[in-house]
Symmetry: C2
Subunit: 281 residues, 2 copies
């Protein structure tokens, strides 16, 4: 696996590969890899002749009171896991190369980032879309893979790609879960054994609402009530939101007559976790 730290060297690598007729699949990451990342990478491996990844804990997508400085990092382990996939090239830049002095250009998807996590993490999605636009210009992939666990991020990036005409296909990949249902996340590493158990309430509440949906409930508020009631059985989990939204546009829905996402964000101790399910009528 080649490791590249400078944007122009990564661009040269990508351009040379394209000239040879190779196709590039790309999985951007913030590192501390888990089976979710590896699933994205294996899927990318299948869909292109070359697999690129990036490892960059992006400061601009963290709020001032969020966990940027303590976000888990283990570069050597991440490299070892990528080599196993195998990843062909890893782009791993320093922050001051990505955001040099005088940096002042932002890419913003305005509407679909207003609700859900966007309402609770001001500036988060602007940081995400900006760094992903930069990575797309640096890695020049033909396809890029994103997990459905970060559902609003996935739809927002799809929208950005469409609106800005990036010649890149976005491939969504289903959330990878632990055997007991917990969605895999690098932030799960923060959890104590007790919190790890409590965190199951997120997926549990979604599944309770899904059961109601399958029994015929089409009122979003009623599904949210079912999910909330389930969550309250674990008082250690502090709800941030449970909401439904149009699965494609993320607009509010008042009656479920098309696919909707049921999304949840909650804190277990100081760890913020998210999860979601798509309900298809």
């Amino acid at each position: 696996m080649e490791i590249i730290a400078l944007p122009h060297e990564m661009q040269r690598w990508a351009e040379a590969a394209r000239q040879r007729g190779e196709t590039i699949a790309f999985v951007p990451t913030m590192g501390f890899l888990h089976e979710g990342h590896l699933t994205l990478m294996r899927e990318g491996r299948k869909r292109a002749t070359l697999l690129a990844s990036s490892l960059f804990v992006n400061p601009t997508q963290f709020g001032p009171n969020e966990d940027f400085s303590r976000y888990p990092r283990d570069f050597e382990r991440d490299c070892a896991l990528m080599r196993e996939v195998p990843v062909d090239v890893l782009f791993a830049p320093e922050p001051d190369v990505i955001y040099p002095k005088g940096f002042q250009t932002w890419v913003e998807v305005t509407e679909m980032t207003k609700g859900l996590c966007g309402a609770h993490r001001p500036g988060h999605f602007r940081g995400v879309t900006t760094v992903v636009a930069k990575l797309f210009n640096i890695v020049k992939p033909h396809i890029a893979l994103f997990g459905e666990k970060d559902y609003q991020q996935l739809r927002t990036i799809e929208r950005m790609v469409q609106d800005l005409n990036f010649p890149i296909e976005i491939v969504p990949v289903a959330t990878v879960r632990e055997p007991d249902g917990l969605a895999m996340s690098s932030r799960n590493a923060y959890l104590t054994p007790d919190q790890r158990q409590q965190a199951l309430a997120l997926h549990g509440s979604l599944r309770a609402a899904e059961a109601a949906f399958k029994s015929g409930v089409r009122d979003p508020q009623q599904l949210v009530s079912v999910a909330s009631a389930w969550l309250q059985k674990t008082p250690e989990v502090q709800l941030e939101y449970i909401e439904t939204a149009d699965a494609k546009t993320l607009e509010q829905v008042t009656h479920i007559d098309r696919p909707v996402v049921l999304a949840i964000a909650a804190r277990v101790g100081s760890t913020r976790l998210i999860d979601n399910l798509v309900l298809v009528p």
Copy 2:
């Protein structure tokens, strides 16, 4: 000259050219071509094996009270002029292809668009950077040429390219002027013969300030006073601003110890005109 209206067809053209090892120079325009545009195109012709241009009167860079609907248009004449250069491919899309229903992604350069024209045309540069980012992703050029007449636009696009890592070289080209000094602009077509004569006061005021600069004046306020005094000799010309700014960052300067741009915007009748000079100590 090939004329392409759809983004994915333009992308296919560009990708095929790149695969053959061609290099692409790109001159984006809003049409109603004049010698300024043609100079950009001839310079592009020299610097790459293929020359692409675009013709799109971009609605998002016009304010609600600006001249979008009456902006001069002459597609057949523009095509004839491009064929003479010759331009190899013209991308000429319809507005609803560039801004389809649900469009909501914006590229914004935040700091250097605050002053000068940015202070008087809210949203203008956001419209410019967004459409240029889109055109860069659609036309996929190796180099792109922009005139120094739109000085703030040029520096803003350079900043966007650097910040978002577009693998594109921006080539600035000097302002092309009429024999009497008037900067060429599609908007000069709005001027009556009297206004055409009055419009000379813009360049005249810049040259008056330049003379003071050459005689040793290094105080920006004093240069602005000289330019303003000159302009007042033509009372039909309504000043919007005369300002100096760092020639690279567009930050304010209090003493000229590095290159600065002296920029002017003024109305002649209802026609808004701009011009500038760079002063190098």
